[in-house]
């Protein structure tokens, strides 16, 4: 295994230290437990938006801490959910009088850790809400699985919720926008190569020289199926087709109710995409794929969406939600309305996303 590392044990620590050294104006990093918060604390009456997850997906989440997006992020070990105490410490390090939104990617470990943390924070008098992101259509049902994974849509949820919080919206509105963004989003990805978890030292799965893996997650998990390598247009049709052809997706989600001080179950449904929908499109690199190829993928996606009368009103092309050095890409489409678009366009200044400031 060749990587730019000093030793397997120090990886996350040193990467976080580098991030903090590179962006002192934006963020600071606390260690043991690890978390990242803005270096210029926002107004005391701003809703705090916090997320977190395993490391190895950078710039997600640490690269999205800053004005107009996250107030804090909790990085776990590589591909491993953060622990509840990290989340508690992170929330305690930001202004939280106006309430806290926890954005959780739907993985059992992440959900369990954030649920645990939410209960602990509630006991300490913190008003909070939770939103679970679950946009990966490669996972077909939620009755027989842990439910769809949270992947590319996490970026959209963090940006739109973060923009709303920065604009002074209250906790309920910020949470509602986050949920709406998730319910408007679907993603799917494929890999040309696996990735190597540093502590393991060997690729998680093996692909032949002419094979691609369809429906991968962001942890080197094997995907839905393996196919011989096809053209980019065919790859795009596979991914975007699965997204646009996906029927209504219903599942029961646990959300924290600050009123009741406990978990409530609610049935949430992603309506399918329909002709005429306006979307934000993310063509996301998995970490080892060069930008030039992602732009070619964006071209394919534009033609595909035109054929379905889906209108791409904003786009983002680059490696944003990655799986170490995996080669491949994913597509995320998020149906937007004017309000969501307004907060998407709102100024943002983080290490990885910056506009209008």
């Amino acid at each position: 295994m060749k990587k730019l590392i000093n030793g397997v044990e120090r990886i996350v620590y040193e990467q976080l230290e580098g991030l903090a050294l590179a962006h002192p104006q934006l963020l600071r990093v606390a260690f043991d437990p690890h978390y990242i918060v803005r270096s210029r604390p926002p107004a005391a009456n701003k809703v705090a938006v916090i997320s977190g997850g395993g490391s190895g997906h950078e710039p997600l989440h640490s690269g999205f801490v800053g004005y107009g997006m996250l107030d804090g992020a909790c990085p776990g070990a590589v591909f491993t959910s953060p622990t509840p105490d990290q989340i508690v410490a992170c929330v305690q390090a930001v202004p939280r009088a106006a309430g806290v939104l926890l954005i959780v990617k739907n993985y059992t470990g992440d959900v369990l850790s954030f649920e645990m943390a939410a209960e602990l924070l509630h006991m300490e008098g913190v008003t909070l809400r939770t939103v679970v992101v679950d946009d990966d259509v490669a996972v077909k049902d939620s009755l027989y699985t842990a439910g769809r994974r949270g992947v590319g849509a996490t970026l959209m949820v963090e940006k739109i919720a973060g923009g709303a919080a920065e604009a002074g919206c209250g906790l309920d509105q910020v949470a509602e926008l986050a949920r709406r963004t998730n319910l408007g989003s679907r993603s799917m990805g494929l890999a040309l190569s696996s990735c190597t978890v540093p502590a393991v030292g060997a690729p998680t799965f093996a692909l032949a020289a002419d094979e691609i893996e369809i429906g991968i997650g962001i942890h080197g998990e094997p995907g839905q199926k393996r196919l011989p390598c096809v053209t980019l247009d065919e790859m795009t049709a596979l991914l975007a087709g699965a997204i646009l052809d996906d029927g209504p997706y219903a599942r029961v989600e646990r959300e924290w109710s600050p009123q009741q001080g406990e978990w409530v179950e609610c049935t949430l449904v992603n309506p399918p995409f329909a002709a005429g929908d306006r979307v934000i499109a993310l063509v996301n690199g998995m970490g080892g794929t060069p930008l030039s190829e992602l732009y070619a993928a964006y071209r394919s996606l534009v033609y595909f969406c035109r054929g379905r009368d889906i209108q791409i009103v904003r786009n983002l092309v680059g490696p944003y939600v990655t799986a170490l050095e995996m080669a491949g890409f994913s597509i995320t489409l998020t149906r937007v309305d004017d309000e969501m678009l307004h907060f998407w366009d709102a100024p943002v200044h983080t290490p990885a996303l910056r506009w209008r400031m």
């Binding site: 437990p33 395993g54 776990g76 070990a77 590589v78 591909f79 491993t80 959910s81 953060p82 622990t83 509840p84 105490d85 990290q86 993985y107 059992t108 470990g109 369990l112 850790s113 649920e115 645990m116 490669a138 996972v139 077909k140 027989y144 699985t145 842990a146 994974r149 978890v197 502590a199 393991v200 998680t204 799965f205 997650g217 942890h219 080197g220 998990e221 094997p222």
Partner: protein, 221 residues
């Protein structure tokens, strides 16, 4: 024989050692149907437990509670919260007690398992650690009821855990990361079921080493 704080310390040290030895194997199992971190997570967490316990004093409940909170803050992943919960709940169940007999131990382990199930909402057959825990505690209950000594009772629990672990091989996962694979998850052991077996095997080993048994009735009758 009764279980006290130092017995539990022995158990956890043995478990930490065995899990460290099984680290690569567990990670390899997790690579097949998960994300290749279970061995790393668990080994890291139990090593931290041993370190923390060495530094801290404490009786039975204190040891169990420190184990739970340490696992919760060092393992990460699904198994971290679940194992952490197990020990925190078990600690609460034995609060104030200095020692446990076999029946009390079984009761505490049941309360721990309830913590796992309440958080993770997995049932037997979902291809998770519950598939090792549930039959193991059932066997433990049976052995205790039939008057087996502690070592023998824990031996049957470990044997049942092993069978439960092996039962996960053909299953299609319905919980956790492995569930994403659908049918492709069949044909692999569940890593958490394996680590649970190792944990219970360590418990039986420590009991066997602990020497002269009370209640030989079942063995002799």
């Amino acid at each position: 024989m009764l279980i006290d704080g130092s017995f539990v310390r022995n158990w956890l040290a043995t478990a930490a050692h065995d899990l460290q030895e099984a680290k690569a194997y567990l990670t390899q199992l997790d690579a097949a149907i998960g994300d290749a971190d279970h061995g790393l997570n668990i080994a890291r967490g139990f090593a931290a437990v041993v370190e923390k316990l060495d530094a801290a004093g404490g009786e039975l409940d204190g040891v169990l509670k420190l184990t739970g909170t340490t696992l919760m803050s060092t393992v990460g992943g699904a198994s971290g919260v679940l194992y952490g919960n197990f020990f925190v709940r078990a600690a609460a169940a034995v609060a104030g007690k200095q020692t446990l007999d076999a029946a009390q131990l079984a009761a505490a382990l049941h309360i721990g398992l309830e913590g796992i199930i309440q958080r993770g909402r997995a049932a037997v057959g979902d291809k998770t650690m519950v598939d090792s825990w549930a039959p193991a505690l059932e066997a433990l209950d049976g052995a205790v009821a039939s008057g087996a000594g502690l070592a023998a009772a824990l031996q049957s629990a470990a044997a049942a855990a092993e069978a439960g672990m092996n039962s996960t091989l053909p299953l299609v996962a319905k919980k956790g990361r492995a569930s994403y694979l659908g049918e492709r998850s069949a044909g692999h052991l569940d890593p958490g079921a394996v680590s649970t077996y190792i944990l219970l095997r360590a418990l039986a080993t420590v009991a066997a080493q602990a020497g002269p048994e009370g209640g030989e009735r079942a063995a002799s009758g």
